[in-house]
């Protein structure tokens, strides 16, 4: 099953299960979605529940949030999350904070979803990762699926959740196929929000990743295995809440940590994970945490520069080796 089909089926099932669920965004209806995630839904649910909007993110996001105040369960699609910046005040100030400011009167059951982060060759304005920004903000939940099972289980959970969820997809994964369990195809299937998944167990080094980078981390783990290094790969799934206990438990076992993300490094997801491990498992670390992230530059267009600007499998492998081989001399120096 492709991630696209996983997302599409999740939308379909939740719309069919709950008449309060509706989908709005640019080109989600007649065009079937800019990336065809909403294919067939207009036909099935009609224009009252699948709404094509003008290209006015602030306006339609505000309307979505208002509808959620009223008790509906909107799903707002951003054609990409870069455009969510036009509506970010509604995500942060109108959605995330209302339940708190109203002491629980105004809950905001809404999902903001769409592709996030780097695609291929789309340049600086269309490649930003918003995981860390949104996950900064209490009141939001932030999910980042990797596989088709993630996509299905997390999106269905997000739609059912009573709080605002930022759901960050990845364009380059839409067409990728993943094997899925029978259980995950059931319409009751949901994944828990706030729980990471150990994609591969290992004992020498922990690699955390989310979204597309989980695939890279798994590839790196394979290469590392050949060289005798057993890497544990954690698919974060949820950036907020962040599953600190799974991460720390793993690091307490492996004593080494590599964080991987495609976004900018400064104040990124890796920084938080590193800090969490320092806070909770300092004494367990045998080597400095290694952070792999997008280069600290706007995304260049040229293919060679772009490749240099996003993490590659070899970066993960190199960092893991460094972490493993370096522990002894460093300990001596300390």
């Amino acid at each position: 099953m492709t991630v696209r089909d996983a997302l599409n089926s999740a939308l379909d099932e939740e719309m069919s299960a709950d008449p309060k669920v509706f989908l709005m965004g640019e080109e989600v209806g007649e065009y079937q979605g800019a990336y065809k995630i909403s294919k067939g839904l207009l036909e099935k649910y009609g224009p009252e529940r699948v709404l094509d909007t003008p290209i006015t993110e602030a306006g339609f996001t505000g309307i979505g949030v208002g509808a959620a105040y009223y008790g509906l369960r909107p799903i707002v699609e951003f054609m990409t999350f870069n455009f969510s910046m036009q509506a970010i005040d509604h995500i942060i100030n109108s959605a995330a904070k209302s339940n708190y400011m109203s002491a629980g009167q105004i809950s905001v059951p809404i999902v903001f979803r769409g592709p996030n982060g780097a695609a291929a060759g789309v340049g600086a304005q269309h490649s930003q990762c918003y995981a860390a920004w949104y996950a900064t903000c209490p009141g939001l939940k932030v999910l980042c699926p990797y596989s088709s099972e993630d996509a299905r289980g997390l999106l269905k959970a997000a739609i059912r959740d009573p709080d605002p969820v930022v759901f960050l997809e990845n364009e380059l994964l839409y067409g990728e196929s993943f094997p899925v369990s029978a259980e995950s195809l059931d319409s009751s299937f949901c994944l828990p929000i706030g729980k990471a998944k150990i994609e591969r167990e290992g004992k020498d080094v922990t690699i955390t990743a989310f979204s597309k980078m989980v695939g890279y981390a798994l590839k790196a783990a394979e290469i590392l295995a050949k060289e005798g290094i057993s890497a544990e790969v954690i698919n974060l799934r949820s950036i907020r809440p962040l599953d600190r206990s799974t991460i720390n438990a793993s690091v307490r076992k492996t004593n080494r940590l590599i964080t991987v993300e495609e976004g900018f490094p400064q104040h990124g997801v890796g920084a938080e994970i590193c800090t969490s491990v320092i806070e909770e498992s300092f004494g367990y670390l045998d080597a400095p945490v290694e952070r792999i992230a997008g280069a600290d530059v706007p995304m260049p267009y040229a293919a060679n520069l772009e490749r240099m600007a996003v993490p590659q499998v070899e970066d993960i492998v190199r960092a893991a080796k460094r972490a493993c081989y370096r522990s002894v001399p460093l300990a001596a120096a300390a």
């Binding site: 602030a58 509906l72 109203s102």
Partner: protein
Amino acid sequence: DSRTITIETSVPFTAHQCDAPSRSVDTNPKELLTFFRDMATMRRMEIAADSLYKAKLIRGFCHLYDGQEAVAVGMEAAITKKDSIITAYRDHCTFLGRGGTLLEIFSELMGRQGGCSKGKGGSMHFYKKESGFYGGHGIVGAQVPLGCGLAFGQKYSKDGTVSFALYGDGAANQGQLFEALNISALWDLPVILVCENNHYGMGTAEWRAAKSPAYYKRGDYVPGLKVDGMDVLAVKQACKFAKEHALKNGPIILEMDTYRYHGHSMSDPGSTYRTRDEISGVRQERDPVERVRKLVLSHDLATEKELKDQEKEIRKQVDEAIAQAKESPMPEPSELFSNVYAKGLGVEAFGPDRKEVRAVLP
């Protein structure tokens, strides 16, 4: 006493892309007396809030509504609590109009448990969802798309109700308003955009912020009506008209010509960008409470003394509410971590020193 009295509005309505409603407004003694009581209560309440602020019992921002009472009261007279209202930070009186209590208001203003947001929201963030009040919003203009979203919910749910989104003359230039209006017009949402034109956005006169300060026309292809917002009956008439219009035809704009007596918020004396004459002129000639007082007297519905007594009674109620609010305790420390989420998933959240203060979210 509910015999019909018909009263002419102060000035005619000015219409844009629609036919104006009649200037003759039906009312009755009971309604007029209620108008007087409600507006006088709001007036007294805001003046008391001013004192509490100066006594440092209210903190931060505090935006007072005195002068604009006819808008909140007239609007309520035209609609029901199943209709929705959303407004900006100048929200105390709107909340009262929706059925909120003085005690909830003063408690919230002082950050106490008894507040309508349990002390967690503050002056700008009042809500009363069960009677259709959705805040209390601090970001200029943002409440307009939110209000259109409420209307979306009403239409989607086939509730037959409408939403009123209130905003100021300053907010009227916000782009998101035009975006939301276009969508509302495309989707025929039953929403009424109410521009409370008090002629200043903070210290900026309307014409310095808007090339076209004819706010009732700013919807361009959306109908609009200019209303004397100091005349509670005109407001009632316009809101009734607008509600009917919105249910049938989608969005409409009401520009309420009104005035705030106080400065923008407590840090603004309100006298550097307008003359004292201007303020006292409005007070003398257009005051919404006095206007109703005159109507009550001229129709012999009460004596001057009775109204004065009522005002004394209101003052007492306000003072009592304040006294009670002062007794309301500060929120429990545990409230710091409640309501972050509707469903906290049992996740840990942290205080400033996470090794000292952490809580499992409910």
